[in-house]
Every structure is written in structure tokens, then in C-alpha cells.
Amino acid sequence: MLSRTFPIRETILAGAIVVLLALIASRFAGFIAPSNLARVFNDTAPLIILALGQMVVILTRCIDLSVAANLALTGMAVAMINVAMPGLPIPIIIAIAIMLGAVMGAINGVLVWKLSIPPIVVTLGTMTIFRGIIFLISDGKWVNSHEMSPAFTGFPRAEILGLPVLSWVAIVTTLIFAVMMSRTPLGRSIFAVGGNPHAAVYTGIDVGRTQFQAFVISGALAGLTGYLWVARYAVAYVDIAGGFELEVVAACVIGGISIAGGVGSVGGAVLGAIFLGVVKNALPVVNISPFWQLAISGSAILIAVAFNASAGRKKGRIILKSAEVTS
């Protein structure tokens, strides 16, 4: 358990982030000013929250491609609720967002659990369905900043102890997940289901039910992020966070969460998200041609994954390893 809390992979990734920061600082010194690092962290907060939800899903050998669409639909729904009822307190808005997201996650979960449809197919389908629903409820129109109430857009920006609420939400979510994954039966069953589903069944864990729970968790976090996202950018329209699901999966993969399930950690997911967040925030200020930026982001992901894969291979079973050499 201790090696899972402070494993080598996370230390290496943290080191890579420090090296990356040093490289960026050599081209743009202001980037590593504490205030800017706090800003980068705040900008990365939605990615961290979503990556934690995605981590749980990936650990159970599933994948959730509908997170960005879920985020956009919840965001549009709460924005429209806010326009219709400007007086509704923010805690209620947040509760609605989490519940809406959880319901959408539960739809994914039920389809995977009860109908045994492959998760990638289910979530690809719901991804487009959710986007379609946004178009239906909004009629393709935008919800704009002047229509939202000041409290609605102000909440993620409000500062507590020098950090915006958005950052605090990411920090609190991370802490909850650290406890959940290492100290609760749910956390253990998530690892068990992904690590060896057959063995998990023999220990009395319902594999499908655990996967369902993972989807609900991921959906609830996507819903929460939906509100935070729309409030932060003060605009809601059909295409918000388009393609963001791939960034979320990338953050998990960079963080060393095995797509095959069962291997990964909260620290890894958070560091993976921060790594991507640093790259995304650094590219605009280091004065690199925009034509190269996409290639650079892609290469960073590939290098990190290749590194993780080679680091992970050393942990393979010794018996198989010698067999590989002889063949």
C-alpha cells in the first residue's frame, strides 16, 4: 500500500514536470512565478477533476468517452436553469449539476452492466446523444455572460486563502479520492475488478456493479465540472469542451493508469493532468509557431506514455520475462 502511495512512476513524472517547468522558465521566466503557477493549476483544475473520474472508470477496465459531452450538457442545463431562475442559490445549482451528471453516468453504467455492451461503444453513443440533447434543449442558441447571474459566474472565481474556489474543488476532490481509493471497500473493489475480474468474483465482488459505480462517479464529477466550466468561461453552447474527453484519457495514460485496468493511482492521475496543463499553458507564452503546437502536445503525450510503458514493463512477472528472452 505504501508503494502505491509513493511509487517510483509518480516521482519520475513529478520530476518530468519540474524539468519541463525549468525548460519553460529558460524561455519565459515569468511562467514559474508563484502567482502564475497558481493560475496554471486553476486552469488545470477541471482536467484534474475529470481525470480522477476517468481513472476510476479505466481502473475497472472500462473507458468513459462521454465525459466532455456530459460536462457540456450539464453545463447548458444549469446555465438555462440559472437564466430561468436567477435567484436559485449556487449550492442547489451544484447539487443539480452533480445529480444530472450522475444520472448520465448511470445510463452508461447500466448499459455496460446489464446489457454487457463494450464501454467504448456505449460511451461513444451517449457522447453523441448528449451533444444532440444540448442542441435540442438550447435550440442551438448560446447562453451568454450577461444572462447569467453574477453569483453563478462568480462562484468558481471567489478566492479562499488566495486560491480560487475552482482550485479548491480540485484539491478537495483529490483528497476525497485518495481516501476513497486506499481506505474504502469501494476503492479496493475497483482495483480488484480491474486487476483480475475472475478473482474479484470469487471474493464476492460484483464486477458489473462496481463498473456501474465507477461510471456514476465519473458522471457526477463531469456534472460538477460542467457547472464550473460554464461559470468560469461565462458561456454555454453546444460545442463547449469539444474533444476534451481525449485530453482526459491522455492525462490518465500519462499518469500511468493502465488502459488494461487495475493499475494506477490518484497521484498519477493528478500529475498526468498537471503535466498536460503545464504544456497547454506554456505553449502560448514560449512563442512557438501555432503550427507546431499540436505536434508538440502530441509528442509530449507519446513520450510520457512510452516512458510509462517501459517503466511498467520492469514490473512484469519474472517467469514470463525469461520465457520472452528464449523465444
Partner: protein
């Protein structure tokens, strides 16, 4: 629902057909056909058409269109207008080619046909009125920034994607006329990919890379809104002016917060006004629509036609604190 809509549409048409003979026969009847009824942009265009009609005196405007944005719906409307023998049809088309046969038939009956906003293929109309031209837009976006920088200053461009055709052409046109604005330096061009989060990040990056930045020009509706939000969050309202192309409904918040002094987009009222004026000139004053012709359009000046019988109405219309409230509910 569809049947119900059709019934309503037919009933409207029937009423129109039976009602017209009762009106003064010597009125010039100009039909303003829009993509669909009930869209704020087109309602505003109809307002402009009425303004032109009042100015001309003897003109009756028939504001019509299908209930949803289909070419079939517009063909039905055109056929009914042919039956009513209107004097002119000014149409914003749902399809470039599908309407051509119906509009050809209208022209054979001596009805003047022009398209505006969204064009019809050249054989289906006598002229097409574009709201603006690439050159005018390119000039306008830099002018918007320069107008608020009498001492000169540094501006940056926040575009959509690196491959967006419209934005690239506008930026190219802007760079051609940059010499007309001495003291204005374009320090950088960045791409927000028309994503709110990436545009926001790029705008923040611009303000960090260029601490003395005076304006961000975003010729894209997603980019301009995101940049305005980034300026508000960075506490740089008053230092960095966000401008470019956006819709009044989407930019009302940015104008209110002061992050944007002004921005531009077509004015639907002027568009409806000009379309009516053009239709009147062609139908009543015997003006020939031919390449190179200059057709007068009242207070909007004249329309010069190019080889395809197309012309650009005017500079994009500037929206600021003085008129945003009037337009934010329109489109």
C-alpha cells in the same frame, strides 16, 4: 406538428392571396423572403425593409418565409408569390441551387429577383447583395482597434483555427491595410481553435507575453467572447480592449464589463433596407444589373456589382455601449 405548420402556412398564403386585391393596386409589392420566420436577425431585416418602404412611399413589403429553414418551404413560398404576381422578390436562400428553377420562373413572369445575405446561384437572380466584403472586414477589424488607440499601440490577433478560410482571408486583408494605421503594431497571431477554453488560454498567454498589449482582435465569435472573459479575469479591463467580430447577444456582457469598447458585425436592419432599395431600383427604375453597374440603395450609398453580379453593402456595423441594448435581443 408538420401538418399543423403546413396548414398555418397555407392559411397565411391564402389570406395573403385573397387580401391583396383589396389593397391599392398601384402599390409596388416587394416580397422579402427569409430563411425561416421567427428568427430575430430576419425580423430586424424586415424592419429595415419597412423603413425603405416608408422612404419610397408607394411600396408594400410582403415579409414572408417558410416556418423552418428548408429549400422546399421556400419554393412553396416563391410559387405563391408568383401566383400573386408581386413586383420583386428579395430572398435569403436556404439552398444555393435548389431555388434556381422556381426563381427562374419568377423572372420569366417579369418579377425582379435579387438575393441577399445568403445567395442564390447567378442564373437564379439578377444580383446578390453581400452584407460586406473580405476587404472591408479586414479593414474594419484593425480600424476598431486603432480607433481606441490614438497614440498607437500593440495589438494581437486571436483567430479560430490555423486552417479557417474566412479568418485567414480577413487577417490577410487586414495586413494589407495595416500601413494606413501608423503606430499600430500587430505583435502576434494566435489560434484558439474556436474552443472557449483554448481561446481563453491563448488570450491569457498574449497578455503575459506582451505586458504592454493594448488590444486583442478576435475575428471569430467564440474567440472574442473568451478573450473578453480572460481580460476581465486578468483584471485588465481598460488596459486591453477586446474587439473583432461578434454577435450583440453574445457580446452584451463584454460591452457592459468594459472589456470590449466596440465590435462589429453586419447590421440586419441595413441589410433589409438595402435589399428593398435594390429590388425597387431594378423593378421600377429600369436599372440594369450587369457587371460593373452601380445600383443606388438610398442612405446606404451605391452597390457596385462584380463579374458575378454580386456586391458588398458596406463596412460591418459597429456595436458599442450606445446601441448594444437595442440589438442584443435581436440576434
Amino acid at each position: 406538428m408538420s401538418v399543423f405548420k403546413r396548414l398555418i402556412a397555407s392559411a397565411t398564403m391564402a389570406t395573403a392571396i385573397f387580401a391583396t386585391p383589396a389593397l391599392a393596386q398601384d402599390d409596388v409589392r416587394i416580397a422579402l423572403v427569409v430563411k425561416a420566420l421567427g428568427i430575430g436577425f430576419f425580423e430586424a431585416a424586415a424592419e429595415g425593409a419597412e423603413e425603405a418602404a416608408a422612404e419610397l412611399g408607394n411600396v408594400e413589403i410582403i415579409y414572408t418565409g417558410p416556418t423552418d429553414t428548408t429549400a422546399e418551404g421556400q419554393i412553396e413560398v416563391i410559387n405563391s408569390l408568383i401566383a400573386q404576381n408581386v413586383d420583386a422578390i428579395a430572398i435569403s436562400a436556404n439552398d444555393t441551387d435548389a431555388l434556381v428553377p422556381a426563381l427562374k420562373r419568377a423572372m420569366q413572369r417579369g418579377i425582379t429577383v435579387i438575393s441577399w445575405d445568403s445567395g442564390v446561384a447567378p442564373e437564379g437572380r439578377q444580383l446578390h447583395l453581400n452584407p460586406s466584403s473580405n476587404a472591408l472586414i479586414g479593414n474594419m477589424i484593425i480600424k476598431l482597434a486603432a480607433d481606441h488607440l490614438p497614440e498607437g499601440g500593440d495589438v494581437a490577433v486571436l483567430s479560430a483555427t490555423t486552417t479557417s478560410t474566412n479568418q485567414n482571408i480577413w487577417i490577410e486583408e487586414m495586413n494589407k491595410v495595416i500601413g494606413d494605421y501608423p503606430g499600430i503594431n500587430v505583435v502576434s497571431t494566435v489560434y484558439g481553435d474556436d474552443l472557449a477554453d483554448k481561446s481563453y488560454r491563448e488570450a491569457t498567454g498574449l497578455m503575459q507575453s506582451f505586458p504592454d498589449l493594448d488590444a486583442i482582435i478576435a475575428p471569430t465569435s467564440v474567440g472574442i467572447v473568451a478573450a473578453a472573459q480572460a481580460v476581465v479575469d486578468a483584471g485588465k479591463v481598460g488596459e486591453v480592449n477586446v474587439t473583432g467580430l461578434g454577435l450583440p447577444s453574445e457580446m452584451a456582457g463584454a460591452i457592459e464589463s468594459g472589456a470590449s469598447q466596440s465590435f462589429a458585425i453586419w447590421n440586419p436592419i441595413d441589410l433589409g433596407y438595402s435589399a428593398t432599395m435594390l429590388a425597387y431600383e431594378l423593378s421600377q427604375n429600369g436599372v440594369e444589373a450587369a457587371p460593373g453597374a452601380e445600383v443606388p440603395m438610398g442612405r446606404m450609398g451605391t452597390l457596385t456589382l462584380d463579374d458575378n453580379n454580386e456586391g458588398a453593402m458596406a463596412d460591418p456595423f459597429v456595436y458599442d455601449a450606445s446601441n448594444i441594448d437595442q440589438f442584443k435581443s435581436i440576434f
